[in-house]
Subunit: 225 residues, 2 copies
């Protein structure tokens, strides 16, 4: 027997859509052509489009329905400059970990599009949220951050479907970015995203094209128990 | 000027697809109708379909192209029983954190479909992978786990497009699941998934229908800086 609340909801729900083979193939194409974009055209992205993408991202699953995603658009040039300075310092520090040919290759990689991207979007996890009442995160507290990653992945695909590219910059200090953006103490940075129209569409990951790291067949990553 | 490697890749790439408004709407419908499923029909899911979904998941972005996702299908009934026992113990322990009406409501929630789901799929992060050569995770080592979450989110959408439901169980002890499944020490559990055909399609999250936690308008989660 269904609970009364479920009956009420079912009455409100429209008929579920059927996704056919053509859509499944198209979705796979979208997933294949999603790239981590670091080369942007200067064309602006409409503020309404960014809001629409955030609305779609918020349809992602979250532990206990806790919706811990917090989005910050960064337009202020002073703050952007400080973010870029932090990236440059972290990137220089990372370069020191490599030697010889690998160091040369690392130095040649374009790892961010912070200067060109029309939109900077920082995504935080509100680690103090009371939404969800703690459900599902007692043994795995990291589920809160994982929920935010699900929202970012969702946003990324919705953006690509609109011809908009996203690049995820992780070569920054999360605490420093939180300070630059003056967000509440309980907000932990999950991603600093560059968003904009890409210079060109690519099927192959940029790090593969550059010879840094190739794709491995997923069959190698499957065990049976 | 483009690098020679990029030119070679561009020559190999087919023309990029254009995703029209109709596809964008369909994708949003998919995202809206994706649910965390805990009520499964007993019908099996073909092994080839599971492999196909894993192949699509592996197209997700990963830090430094590190592809740290490791998938384990769990068919052995003895192992499944131990996973279910761990869930039940953790769920009982979690219930003790609630009181009064909230405790009653928690106890009434169906939080897993482990007994009915035809497919159990554990997803781990290989924290010792050398793929990606550490790129992008010096200041944010958690990027490795986040990459695995991106793959899971991708798999979830591809599954829903095929009418297949996914439920993410986080009310387990990650270390105990790793022991039960006898995986390498460096593998950290990110998700234990139930996969199968859902009893029914729902637009509204089950925790919202049950009165545990409603959705909040995403506009409340956006700051400008």
């Amino acid at each position: 027997m269904r609970a009364p609340a479920a009956d009420k909801a079912a009455a409100r729900d429209p008929a579920p859509p059927l996704f056919d083979k053509a859509f499944q193939r198209r979705l796979e194409e979208l997933i294949r052509w999603r790239r981590d974009v670091r080369r942007f055209r200067p064309d602006p992205v409409a503020e309404a489009t960014v809001a629409e993408l955030i609305g779609i991202a918020a349809l992602a699953p979250s532990v206990g329905n806790s919706q811990p995603w917090r989005f910050v658009t960064v337009a202020d040039l002073g703050r952007r400059r400080r973010v870029i300075a932090n990236f440059e310092a972290c990137n220089k520090d990372a370069l020191d970990d490599y030697e010889g040919e690998q160091a040369k290759l690392y130095a040649s990689l374009k790892l961010a599009g912070l200067k060109e991207a029309p939109v900077h979007l920082a995504v935080f996890c509100d680690t103090a949220t009371e939404l969800g009442h703690g459900l599902g995160r007692k043994t795995m507290p990291e589920m809160l951050q994982y929920s935010v990653v699900g929202a970012i992945t969702t946003l990324w695909l919705a953006a690509r479907a609109r011809g908009i590219g996203v690049g995820w910059i992780s070569i920054v200090e999360p605490g420093e970015i939180a300070r630059i953006l003056d967000v509440p103490d309980a907000w932990a940075l999950v991603a600093y995203l560059c968003v904009g129209y890409p210079e060109e569409a690519q099927l192959e990951p940029e790090l593969q094209r550059a010879g840094w790291q190739s794709r491995v067949d997923a069959a190698n990553f499957l065990l049976k128990r």
